[in-house]
Protein backbone atom coordinates (compact mmCIF):
# COMPACT_ATOMS: atom_id res chain seq x y z
CA UNK A 1 0.00 0.00 0.00
CA UNK A 2 1.24 3.46 -0.89
CA UNK A 3 2.26 5.82 1.94
CA UNK A 4 1.20 8.83 -0.06
CA UNK A 5 -2.27 9.26 -1.56
CA UNK A 6 -2.34 8.31 -5.22
CA UNK A 7 -3.58 10.73 -7.91
CA UNK A 8 -7.19 10.06 -8.92
CA UNK A 9 -6.39 10.60 -12.62
CA UNK A 10 -3.12 10.58 -14.50
CA UNK A 11 -3.34 14.29 -15.30
CA UNK A 12 -3.23 15.11 -11.58
CA UNK A 13 0.41 15.16 -10.51
CA UNK A 14 1.47 14.68 -6.89
CA UNK A 15 5.17 15.57 -6.55
CA UNK A 16 7.12 14.25 -3.55
CA UNK A 17 7.98 17.81 -2.63
CA UNK A 18 5.67 20.63 -3.54
CA UNK A 19 2.01 21.12 -4.24
CA UNK A 20 -0.16 18.92 -6.42
CA UNK A 21 -1.04 20.31 -9.83
CA UNK A 22 -2.95 19.50 -13.01
CA UNK A 23 -0.94 18.73 -16.10
CA UNK A 24 -2.04 19.21 -19.68
CA UNK A 25 -0.59 18.36 -23.04
CA UNK A 26 -0.25 21.25 -25.46
CA UNK A 27 0.19 20.98 -29.20
CA UNK A 28 3.07 23.22 -30.21
CA UNK A 29 1.73 23.31 -33.77
CA UNK A 30 -1.80 24.61 -33.13
CA UNK A 31 -1.95 25.40 -29.41
CA UNK A 32 -4.75 22.99 -28.49
CA UNK A 33 -4.52 21.61 -24.96
CA UNK A 34 -5.55 18.17 -23.77
CA UNK A 35 -6.01 16.32 -20.50
CA UNK A 36 -4.03 13.11 -20.57
CA UNK A 37 -0.95 11.98 -22.44
CA UNK A 38 -1.01 11.81 -26.22
CA UNK A 39 1.47 12.08 -29.08
CA UNK A 40 -0.80 13.18 -31.94
CA UNK A 41 -2.98 16.29 -31.87
CA UNK A 42 -6.64 15.48 -32.54
CA UNK A 43 -7.31 19.08 -33.59
CA UNK A 44 -4.67 19.48 -36.31
CA UNK A 45 -3.17 15.99 -36.65
CA UNK A 46 0.42 17.11 -35.92
CA UNK A 47 2.64 14.30 -34.65
CA UNK A 48 5.19 14.49 -31.85
CA UNK A 49 4.54 18.19 -31.21
CA UNK A 50 3.13 17.69 -27.72
CA UNK A 51 4.69 19.19 -24.63
CA UNK A 52 3.47 19.13 -21.06
CA UNK A 53 2.13 22.27 -19.41
CA UNK A 54 1.13 22.97 -15.84
CA UNK A 55 -2.52 23.97 -15.91
CA UNK A 56 -3.68 27.03 -13.99
CA UNK A 57 -5.54 26.59 -10.71
CA UNK A 58 -8.26 29.06 -11.58
CA UNK A 59 -10.98 29.37 -14.15
CA UNK A 60 -14.61 30.17 -14.84
CA UNK A 61 -17.76 28.07 -14.62
CA UNK A 62 -18.96 27.25 -18.14
CA UNK A 63 -21.78 24.77 -17.49
CA UNK A 64 -23.06 22.50 -14.74
CA UNK A 65 -25.88 20.30 -13.59
CA UNK A 66 -27.09 19.29 -10.15
CA UNK A 67 -27.08 15.53 -9.73
CA UNK A 68 -29.92 14.25 -7.54
CA UNK A 69 -29.95 10.61 -8.64
CA UNK A 70 -26.75 8.64 -8.94
CA UNK A 71 -25.57 5.12 -8.24
CA UNK A 72 -25.94 3.52 -4.80
CA UNK A 73 -23.42 4.81 -2.28
CA UNK A 74 -22.80 8.14 -3.97
CA UNK A 75 -23.85 11.17 -1.95
CA UNK A 76 -26.35 13.47 -3.65
CA UNK A 77 -27.09 16.19 -4.44
CA UNK A 78 -23.83 17.47 -5.86
CA UNK A 79 -22.83 19.84 -8.62
CA UNK A 80 -21.17 18.38 -11.71
CA UNK A 81 -19.33 21.28 -13.32
CA UNK A 82 -17.55 22.12 -16.57
CA UNK A 83 -14.86 24.73 -15.96
CA UNK A 84 -12.78 26.65 -18.48
CA UNK A 85 -9.37 27.09 -16.87
CA UNK A 86 -7.64 30.43 -17.43
CA UNK A 87 -5.54 29.00 -20.27
CA UNK A 88 -8.67 27.74 -22.07
CA UNK A 89 -8.42 24.07 -21.10
CA UNK A 90 -11.83 22.63 -20.24
CA UNK A 91 -12.08 20.30 -17.25
CA UNK A 92 -14.89 18.54 -15.42
CA UNK A 93 -15.32 17.94 -11.71
CA UNK A 94 -17.39 18.56 -8.60
CA UNK A 95 -18.12 22.16 -7.62
CA UNK A 96 -18.05 22.31 -3.81
CA UNK A 97 -18.56 24.81 -1.02
CA UNK A 98 -21.64 26.32 -2.65
CA UNK A 99 -25.30 25.34 -2.28
CA UNK A 100 -26.49 22.95 -5.01
CA UNK A 101 -29.17 25.44 -5.98
CA UNK A 102 -29.44 27.06 -9.44
CA UNK A 103 -30.31 30.35 -7.72
CA UNK A 104 -26.87 30.38 -6.07
CA UNK A 105 -24.79 29.30 -9.06
CA UNK A 106 -23.79 31.83 -11.71
CA UNK A 107 -22.41 31.05 -15.14
CA UNK A 108 -18.99 32.59 -15.56
CA UNK A 109 -18.31 32.71 -11.83
CA UNK A 110 -14.64 32.53 -10.91
CA UNK A 111 -13.60 29.22 -9.39
CA UNK A 112 -10.38 27.88 -7.91
CA UNK A 113 -9.04 24.36 -8.31
CA UNK A 114 -8.40 22.81 -4.89
CA UNK A 115 -6.91 19.43 -4.00
CA UNK A 116 -8.24 17.14 -1.30
CA UNK A 117 -8.84 13.53 -0.36
CA UNK A 118 -11.09 11.67 -2.82
CA UNK A 119 -14.15 11.64 -0.54
CA UNK A 120 -12.67 8.80 1.51
CA UNK A 121 -12.74 6.38 -1.40
CA UNK A 122 -10.09 3.68 -1.37
CA UNK A 123 -9.14 1.02 -3.91
CA UNK A 124 -9.06 -2.75 -3.28
CA UNK A 125 -5.55 -2.49 -1.83
CA UNK A 126 -6.69 0.16 0.63
CA UNK A 127 -4.84 3.03 -1.05
CA UNK A 128 -6.11 6.56 -0.50
CA UNK A 129 -6.45 8.95 -3.40
CA UNK A 130 -6.01 12.66 -3.93
CA UNK A 131 -8.58 14.39 -6.14
CA UNK A 132 -9.27 17.87 -7.41
CA UNK A 133 -12.39 19.97 -6.86
CA UNK A 134 -13.65 23.39 -7.85
CA UNK A 135 -14.84 25.97 -5.35
CA UNK A 136 -15.92 29.60 -5.65
CA UNK A 137 -12.86 31.85 -5.84
CA UNK A 138 -12.02 33.74 -2.68
CA UNK A 139 -12.70 37.45 -2.94
Amino acid sequence: MSEQPLPVVEYLKVPENGDPYLEGYKCDACGATFLGERSVCSKCGARDQMSTVTLPNSGKLYSYCIVHRSFPGIDVPYISAIVDLDDGTAIKGNLINIEPDPEQIEFGMAVDVVFDDALGRKDKEGNSYLSYFFQPANG
Binding site: K43, H68, S80, A118, R121, K122, Y132
Partner: protein
Protein backbone atom coordinates in the same frame (compact mmCIF):
# COMPACT_ATOMS: atom_id res chain seq x y z
CA UNK B 1 -26.78 5.83 -59.46
CA UNK B 2 -30.24 4.46 -58.86
CA UNK B 3 -32.39 6.02 -56.19
CA UNK B 4 -33.12 3.83 -53.18
CA UNK B 5 -36.63 3.47 -51.75
CA UNK B 6 -38.11 2.23 -48.51
CA UNK B 7 -40.75 -0.26 -49.66
CA UNK B 8 -41.51 -1.96 -46.34
CA UNK B 9 -41.10 -0.69 -42.80
CA UNK B 10 -42.51 -1.40 -39.35
CA UNK B 11 -41.75 -1.45 -35.63
CA UNK B 12 -43.09 -3.46 -32.75
CA UNK B 13 -44.88 -1.69 -29.92
CA UNK B 14 -42.07 -0.77 -27.53
CA UNK B 15 -42.21 -2.35 -24.09
CA UNK B 16 -40.35 -4.71 -21.76
CA UNK B 17 -39.90 -8.28 -22.92
CA UNK B 18 -37.47 -10.00 -20.51
CA UNK B 19 -38.84 -13.40 -21.54
CA UNK B 20 -37.63 -12.96 -25.14
CA UNK B 21 -34.15 -13.04 -26.64
CA UNK B 22 -32.66 -10.16 -28.63
CA UNK B 23 -32.89 -12.10 -31.94
CA UNK B 24 -36.54 -12.93 -31.19
CA UNK B 25 -37.36 -9.26 -30.62
CA UNK B 26 -35.58 -8.31 -33.84
CA UNK B 27 -37.27 -11.09 -35.82
CA UNK B 28 -40.71 -9.69 -35.02
CA UNK B 29 -40.17 -6.35 -36.73
CA UNK B 30 -38.21 -7.97 -39.58
CA UNK B 31 -41.23 -10.15 -40.42
CA UNK B 32 -43.56 -7.15 -40.04
CA UNK B 33 -41.48 -5.07 -42.46
CA UNK B 34 -41.46 -7.93 -44.97
CA UNK B 35 -45.25 -8.26 -44.61
CA UNK B 36 -45.61 -4.50 -45.08
CA UNK B 37 -44.36 -4.89 -48.67
CA UNK B 38 -45.45 -8.48 -49.28
CA UNK B 39 -41.90 -9.82 -49.71
CA UNK B 40 -40.16 -12.76 -48.04
CA UNK B 41 -36.76 -13.35 -46.53
CA UNK B 42 -35.91 -15.20 -49.78
CA UNK B 43 -36.21 -11.84 -51.58
CA UNK B 44 -33.57 -10.20 -49.36
CA UNK B 45 -30.03 -10.07 -50.74
CA UNK B 46 -28.33 -8.82 -47.56
CA UNK B 47 -29.09 -8.00 -43.92
CA UNK B 48 -27.76 -5.04 -41.94
CA UNK B 49 -28.49 -5.58 -38.25
CA UNK B 50 -28.02 -2.92 -35.57
CA UNK B 51 -27.68 -3.82 -31.89
CA UNK B 52 -25.56 -2.49 -29.02
CA UNK B 53 -26.08 -4.75 -26.01
CA UNK B 54 -24.82 -7.88 -27.78
CA UNK B 55 -22.49 -6.15 -30.22
CA UNK B 56 -20.19 -9.18 -30.35
CA UNK B 57 -23.05 -11.69 -30.40
CA UNK B 58 -23.83 -12.08 -34.12
CA UNK B 59 -27.39 -10.89 -33.56
CA UNK B 60 -28.17 -10.67 -37.30
CA UNK B 61 -27.28 -14.30 -37.96
CA UNK B 62 -29.16 -15.47 -34.88
CA UNK B 63 -32.18 -13.51 -36.10
CA UNK B 64 -32.03 -15.27 -39.46
CA UNK B 65 -32.07 -18.54 -37.53
CA UNK B 66 -35.54 -17.39 -36.41
CA UNK B 67 -36.87 -16.23 -39.80
CA UNK B 68 -34.94 -17.97 -42.56
CA UNK B 69 -31.27 -18.88 -43.07
CA UNK B 70 -30.79 -18.08 -46.73
CA UNK B 71 -27.02 -17.63 -46.58
CA UNK B 72 -27.06 -13.92 -47.42
CA UNK B 73 -24.32 -11.59 -46.19
CA UNK B 74 -25.00 -10.21 -42.73
CA UNK B 75 -23.36 -7.08 -41.35
CA UNK B 76 -23.75 -6.50 -37.61
CA UNK B 77 -23.57 -2.82 -36.71
CA UNK B 78 -22.84 -1.03 -33.44
CA UNK B 79 -22.61 2.78 -33.23
CA UNK B 80 -24.06 3.84 -29.85
CA UNK B 81 -27.53 5.39 -30.19
CA UNK B 82 -26.90 5.94 -33.91
CA UNK B 83 -26.73 2.15 -34.38
CA UNK B 84 -30.11 1.74 -36.12
CA UNK B 85 -29.54 4.69 -38.43
CA UNK B 86 -26.07 3.35 -39.26
CA UNK B 87 -27.46 -0.09 -40.14
CA UNK B 88 -30.12 1.56 -42.32
CA UNK B 89 -27.48 3.72 -43.99
CA UNK B 90 -25.25 0.73 -44.76
CA UNK B 91 -28.27 -0.97 -46.33
CA UNK B 92 -29.06 2.17 -48.34
CA UNK B 93 -25.44 2.51 -49.46
CA UNK B 94 -25.34 -1.08 -50.72
CA UNK B 95 -28.35 -0.39 -52.96
CA UNK B 96 -27.04 3.00 -54.09
CA UNK B 97 -23.72 1.36 -54.98
CA UNK B 98 -25.53 -1.22 -57.09
CA UNK B 99 -24.35 -4.18 -55.01
CA UNK B 100 -27.91 -5.31 -54.30
CA UNK B 101 -31.44 -4.47 -55.38
CA UNK B 102 -33.34 -5.46 -52.24
CA UNK B 103 -31.99 -5.54 -48.67
CA UNK B 104 -33.21 -5.62 -45.08
CA UNK B 105 -32.14 -3.33 -42.21
CA UNK B 106 -33.10 -4.17 -38.62
CA UNK B 107 -32.44 -2.37 -35.34
CA UNK B 108 -33.07 -4.15 -32.05
CA UNK B 109 -32.37 -3.63 -28.35
CA UNK B 110 -33.21 -5.20 -25.02
CA UNK B 111 -32.54 -2.79 -22.16
CA UNK B 112 -32.35 -2.91 -18.40
CA UNK B 113 -33.85 -0.20 -16.25
CA UNK B 114 -31.97 2.61 -14.60
CA UNK B 115 -29.17 5.07 -15.24
CA UNK B 116 -26.91 4.71 -18.26
CA UNK B 117 -23.30 5.81 -18.24
CA UNK B 118 -20.97 6.73 -15.39
CA UNK B 119 -20.35 3.16 -14.24
CA UNK B 120 -17.42 1.96 -12.13
CA UNK B 121 -13.73 2.27 -12.90
CA UNK B 122 -11.48 -0.41 -14.38
CA UNK B 123 -8.63 0.67 -12.12
CA UNK B 124 -8.27 2.84 -9.05
CA UNK B 125 -11.48 4.16 -7.52
CA UNK B 126 -14.87 5.03 -9.05
CA UNK B 127 -14.95 8.60 -10.40
CA UNK B 128 -18.72 9.02 -10.43
CA UNK B 129 -19.72 11.79 -8.02
CA UNK B 130 -16.06 12.66 -7.52
CA UNK B 131 -15.09 14.19 -10.85
CA UNK B 132 -18.62 15.28 -11.74
CA UNK B 133 -21.07 12.83 -13.26
CA UNK B 134 -20.84 10.64 -16.31
CA UNK B 135 -24.47 9.53 -16.17
CA UNK B 136 -26.45 10.33 -19.29
CA UNK B 137 -29.04 12.56 -17.53
CA UNK B 138 -26.16 14.63 -16.13
CA UNK B 139 -24.20 14.84 -19.37
CA UNK B 140 -27.27 16.05 -21.26
CA UNK B 141 -28.23 18.37 -18.40
CA UNK B 142 -24.82 20.00 -18.78
CA UNK B 143 -25.36 20.27 -22.55
CA UNK B 144 -28.70 21.97 -21.86
CA UNK B 145 -27.20 24.30 -19.27
CA UNK B 146 -24.62 25.38 -21.84
CA UNK B 147 -27.61 26.64 -23.84
CA UNK B 148 -28.95 28.33 -20.70
CA UNK B 149 -25.58 30.00 -20.23
CA UNK B 150 -25.57 31.31 -23.82
CA UNK B 151 -29.25 32.19 -24.32
CA UNK B 152 -31.04 32.10 -20.97
CA UNK B 153 -33.14 29.03 -21.80
CA UNK B 154 -35.24 28.10 -18.76
CA UNK B 155 -36.06 24.92 -16.86
CA UNK B 156 -39.70 25.51 -17.86
CA UNK B 157 -38.83 25.66 -21.57
CA UNK B 158 -36.91 22.39 -21.33
CA UNK B 159 -39.86 20.85 -19.48
CA UNK B 160 -42.30 21.94 -22.21
CA UNK B 161 -40.53 19.59 -24.62
CA UNK B 162 -41.57 16.68 -22.44
CA UNK B 163 -45.15 17.94 -22.16
CA UNK B 164 -45.34 18.11 -25.96
CA UNK B 165 -43.83 14.71 -26.69
CA UNK B 166 -45.87 12.92 -24.04
CA UNK B 167 -48.97 14.55 -25.53
CA UNK B 168 -48.00 13.33 -28.99
CA UNK B 169 -47.55 9.78 -27.69
CA UNK B 170 -51.19 9.61 -26.57
CA UNK B 171 -51.95 9.27 -30.30
CA UNK B 172 -49.32 6.58 -30.95
CA UNK B 173 -50.43 3.04 -30.03
CA UNK B 174 -46.86 1.78 -30.54
CA UNK B 175 -45.40 4.12 -27.92
CA UNK B 176 -44.38 2.68 -24.55
CA UNK B 177 -46.57 5.25 -22.76
CA UNK B 178 -49.73 7.11 -23.80
CA UNK B 179 -50.04 9.48 -20.85
CA UNK B 180 -50.57 13.24 -20.75
CA UNK B 181 -48.00 14.96 -18.51
CA UNK B 182 -48.94 18.59 -17.76
CA UNK B 183 -46.15 21.11 -17.18
CA UNK B 184 -46.39 21.03 -13.38
CA UNK B 185 -46.27 17.23 -13.43
CA UNK B 186 -43.09 17.28 -15.52
CA UNK B 187 -41.41 19.99 -13.44
CA UNK B 188 -42.38 18.39 -10.11
CA UNK B 189 -41.34 14.87 -11.07
CA UNK B 190 -38.30 13.42 -9.32
CA UNK B 191 -35.25 15.52 -10.17
CA UNK B 192 -32.62 13.29 -11.73
CA UNK B 193 -30.00 15.83 -12.86
CA UNK B 194 -31.16 19.43 -12.86
CA UNK B 195 -32.70 20.55 -15.13
CA UNK B 196 -33.79 17.05 -16.26
CA UNK B 197 -36.55 15.50 -14.13
CA UNK B 198 -37.51 11.85 -14.50
CA UNK B 199 -40.19 12.75 -17.07
CA UNK B 200 -37.55 14.58 -19.10
CA UNK B 201 -35.43 11.43 -19.52
CA UNK B 202 -36.05 8.93 -22.31
CA UNK B 203 -37.58 5.61 -21.35
CA UNK B 204 -35.40 2.49 -21.37
CA UNK B 205 -37.45 -0.08 -23.29
CA UNK B 206 -37.05 -3.16 -25.44
CA UNK B 207 -37.93 -2.80 -29.08
CA UNK B 208 -37.13 -3.35 -32.71
CA UNK B 209 -37.81 -1.76 -36.07
CA UNK B 210 -37.02 -2.86 -39.60
CA UNK B 211 -37.01 -1.55 -43.15
CA UNK B 212 -36.83 -3.13 -46.61
CA UNK B 213 -34.89 -0.99 -49.10
CA UNK B 214 -35.09 -1.48 -52.87
CA UNK B 215 -33.53 0.09 -55.92
CA UNK B 216 -35.97 2.07 -58.05
CA UNK B 217 -35.96 -0.51 -60.81
CA UNK B 218 -36.63 -3.35 -58.36
CA UNK B 219 -39.44 -1.44 -56.62
CA UNK B 220 -41.07 -0.82 -60.01
CA UNK B 221 -40.58 -4.43 -61.08
CA UNK B 222 -42.24 -5.62 -57.86
CA UNK B 223 -45.08 -3.12 -58.23
CA UNK B 224 -44.24 -1.49 -54.90
CA UNK B 225 -43.93 2.18 -55.92
CA UNK B 226 -47.34 3.34 -54.69
CA UNK B 227 -46.30 3.20 -51.02
CA UNK B 228 -42.55 3.56 -51.59
CA UNK B 229 -40.68 6.43 -49.94
CA UNK B 230 -37.50 7.77 -51.51
CA UNK B 231 -34.34 8.25 -49.44
CA UNK B 232 -33.34 11.76 -50.52
CA UNK B 233 -30.35 12.01 -48.20
CA UNK B 234 -28.37 9.73 -45.89
CA UNK B 235 -25.55 11.23 -43.85
CA UNK B 236 -23.36 9.98 -41.02
CA UNK B 237 -20.84 12.15 -39.16
CA UNK B 238 -18.54 11.83 -36.19
CA UNK B 239 -17.73 14.67 -33.83
CA UNK B 240 -15.24 17.16 -35.21
CA UNK B 241 -12.70 18.50 -32.71
CA UNK B 242 -14.15 21.01 -30.26
CA UNK B 243 -12.33 22.70 -27.42
CA UNK B 244 -14.41 21.11 -24.65
CA UNK B 245 -15.10 17.71 -26.16
CA UNK B 246 -12.87 15.74 -23.78
CA UNK B 247 -15.10 16.72 -20.86
CA UNK B 248 -18.36 17.55 -22.57
CA UNK B 249 -19.46 15.13 -25.30
CA UNK B 250 -20.47 17.30 -28.22
CA UNK B 251 -23.84 16.55 -29.82
CA UNK B 252 -24.06 19.90 -31.58
CA UNK B 253 -21.25 20.13 -34.11
CA UNK B 254 -21.74 16.61 -35.47
CA UNK B 255 -25.46 17.37 -35.94
CA UNK B 256 -24.78 20.68 -37.67
CA UNK B 257 -22.26 19.03 -39.96
CA UNK B 258 -24.70 16.21 -40.78
CA UNK B 259 -27.63 18.57 -41.32
CA UNK B 260 -25.68 20.77 -43.73
CA UNK B 261 -24.57 17.71 -45.72
CA UNK B 262 -28.07 16.20 -45.73
CA UNK B 263 -29.76 19.39 -46.93
CA UNK B 264 -27.13 19.69 -49.66
CA UNK B 265 -27.53 16.06 -50.72
CA UNK B 266 -31.32 16.43 -50.90
CA UNK B 267 -31.09 19.84 -52.57
CA UNK B 268 -33.45 21.45 -50.08
CA UNK B 269 -33.47 23.32 -46.78
CA UNK B 270 -35.14 23.17 -43.37
CA UNK B 271 -38.14 25.16 -44.66
CA UNK B 272 -38.96 22.28 -47.02
CA UNK B 273 -39.30 19.72 -44.22
CA UNK B 274 -42.84 18.81 -43.10
CA UNK B 275 -41.98 16.79 -39.97
CA UNK B 276 -38.97 15.74 -37.95
CA UNK B 277 -38.14 12.87 -35.63
CA UNK B 278 -35.06 13.99 -33.70
CA UNK B 279 -32.99 12.56 -30.86
CA UNK B 280 -34.80 13.68 -27.70
CA UNK B 281 -32.90 11.32 -25.40
CA UNK B 282 -33.44 14.06 -22.81
CA UNK B 283 -35.70 17.09 -22.98
CA UNK B 284 -32.64 19.36 -22.88
CA UNK B 285 -31.28 17.72 -26.02
CA UNK B 286 -34.34 18.43 -28.15
CA UNK B 287 -33.99 22.17 -27.59
CA UNK B 288 -30.40 22.08 -28.87
CA UNK B 289 -31.36 20.23 -32.04
CA UNK B 290 -33.99 22.81 -33.14
CA UNK B 291 -31.06 25.10 -33.77
CA UNK B 292 -28.63 22.40 -34.88
CA UNK B 293 -31.08 21.30 -37.61
CA UNK B 294 -31.74 24.88 -38.70
CA UNK B 295 -35.41 25.04 -37.64
CA UNK B 296 -34.66 28.44 -36.11
CA UNK B 297 -31.73 30.73 -35.53
CA UNK B 298 -29.25 30.27 -32.67
CA UNK B 299 -30.84 31.30 -29.40
CA UNK B 300 -34.41 30.98 -30.69
CA UNK B 301 -35.14 27.39 -29.61
CA UNK B 302 -36.84 28.48 -26.37
CA UNK B 303 -39.23 30.65 -28.33
CA UNK B 304 -39.96 27.79 -30.73
CA UNK B 305 -41.22 25.54 -27.93
CA UNK B 306 -43.04 28.45 -26.23
CA UNK B 307 -44.91 29.29 -29.44
CA UNK B 308 -45.92 25.71 -30.19
CA UNK B 309 -44.25 25.74 -33.61
CA UNK B 310 -42.84 22.25 -33.03
CA UNK B 311 -46.10 20.66 -31.82
CA UNK B 312 -48.49 18.69 -34.02
CA UNK B 313 -50.40 21.35 -35.97
CA UNK B 314 -47.50 23.80 -35.68
CA UNK B 315 -45.12 25.08 -38.35
CA UNK B 316 -42.71 22.13 -38.11
CA UNK B 317 -43.95 19.26 -35.92
CA UNK B 318 -41.15 17.50 -34.03
CA UNK B 319 -41.41 14.01 -32.53
CA UNK B 320 -45.09 13.41 -33.19
CA UNK B 321 -44.39 9.74 -32.35
CA UNK B 322 -43.90 10.77 -28.74
CA UNK B 323 -40.16 10.75 -29.18
CA UNK B 324 -37.65 8.85 -27.14
CA UNK B 325 -39.15 10.56 -24.08
CA UNK B 326 -42.45 8.66 -24.29
CA UNK B 327 -42.33 6.24 -27.22
CA UNK B 328 -39.18 4.88 -25.62
CA UNK B 329 -35.53 4.50 -26.57
CA UNK B 330 -34.33 0.96 -27.35
CA UNK B 331 -30.86 2.20 -28.33
CA UNK B 332 -30.13 0.10 -31.41
CA UNK B 333 -33.71 0.25 -32.71
CA UNK B 334 -34.32 3.98 -32.38
CA UNK B 335 -32.75 5.03 -35.68
CA UNK B 336 -35.04 2.77 -37.71
CA UNK B 337 -38.10 3.43 -35.51
CA UNK B 338 -37.71 7.11 -36.42
CA UNK B 339 -37.63 6.16 -40.09
CA UNK B 340 -40.79 4.09 -39.59
CA UNK B 341 -42.54 7.09 -38.06
CA UNK B 342 -41.64 9.54 -40.81
CA UNK B 343 -42.39 7.01 -43.56
CA UNK B 344 -45.82 6.33 -42.03
CA UNK B 345 -46.68 10.05 -42.18
CA UNK B 346 -45.40 10.41 -45.73
CA UNK B 347 -47.68 7.53 -46.69
CA UNK B 348 -50.58 9.27 -44.97
CA UNK B 349 -51.08 6.28 -42.66
CA UNK B 350 -50.36 7.83 -39.25
CA UNK B 351 -53.97 8.02 -38.09
CA UNK B 352 -54.82 10.48 -35.33
CA UNK B 353 -51.32 11.98 -35.20
CA UNK B 354 -50.97 12.37 -38.99
CA UNK B 355 -49.09 15.50 -40.07
CA UNK B 356 -51.49 16.67 -42.77
CA UNK B 357 -50.06 16.73 -46.27
CA UNK B 358 -46.60 15.62 -45.17
CA UNK B 359 -44.40 15.01 -48.19
CA UNK B 360 -40.83 15.37 -46.91
CA UNK B 361 -39.53 14.36 -43.48
CA UNK B 362 -36.23 14.20 -41.61
CA UNK B 363 -34.90 11.74 -39.04
CA UNK B 364 -31.99 12.44 -36.69
CA UNK B 365 -30.15 10.37 -34.11
CA UNK B 366 -27.08 10.93 -31.99
CA UNK B 367 -24.81 8.27 -30.59
CA UNK B 368 -22.78 9.75 -27.78
CA UNK B 369 -19.10 9.50 -28.41
CA UNK B 370 -20.19 10.75 -30.99
CA UNK B 371 -22.05 9.77 -34.16
CA UNK B 372 -24.88 11.60 -35.91
CA UNK B 373 -27.14 10.02 -38.51
CA UNK B 374 -29.61 12.05 -40.57
CA UNK B 375 -32.00 10.82 -43.25
CA UNK B 376 -34.31 12.90 -45.43
CA UNK B 377 -37.24 10.98 -46.87
CA UNK B 378 -39.74 11.95 -49.54
CA UNK B 379 -42.99 10.52 -50.87
CA UNK B 380 -42.79 10.97 -54.60
Amino acid sequence: MSDAYIVGVDMIKFGRFPEKTVPQIGAESALMALDDCGLTIQDMEALYCGNLGQASGMVGQRMLQQIGQTGIPVVNVSNACATGATAFREAWASVKAGLYDCVLAVGVEQMGKGLLGGAGAATGIPKEGLLGSGTMPAVFAEAGMEHTNKYGTTFEQFAKVSVKNHHHSTMNPKAMYQIETPLETVMNAEMISYPNTKLMCSVNVDGSAAAVICSESKAKELGLMSRAVKVRASVLTSDPWQERDLVMPDVNSCTRKAAAAAYEMAGLGPDDIDLIELHDCFATAEILHYENLGLCGDGEAGRLIDDGEVALGGRIPVNVSGGLLSKGHPLGATGIANIYEVTTHLRGEAGERQVEGARIGLTHVIGLGSACGIHILEKT
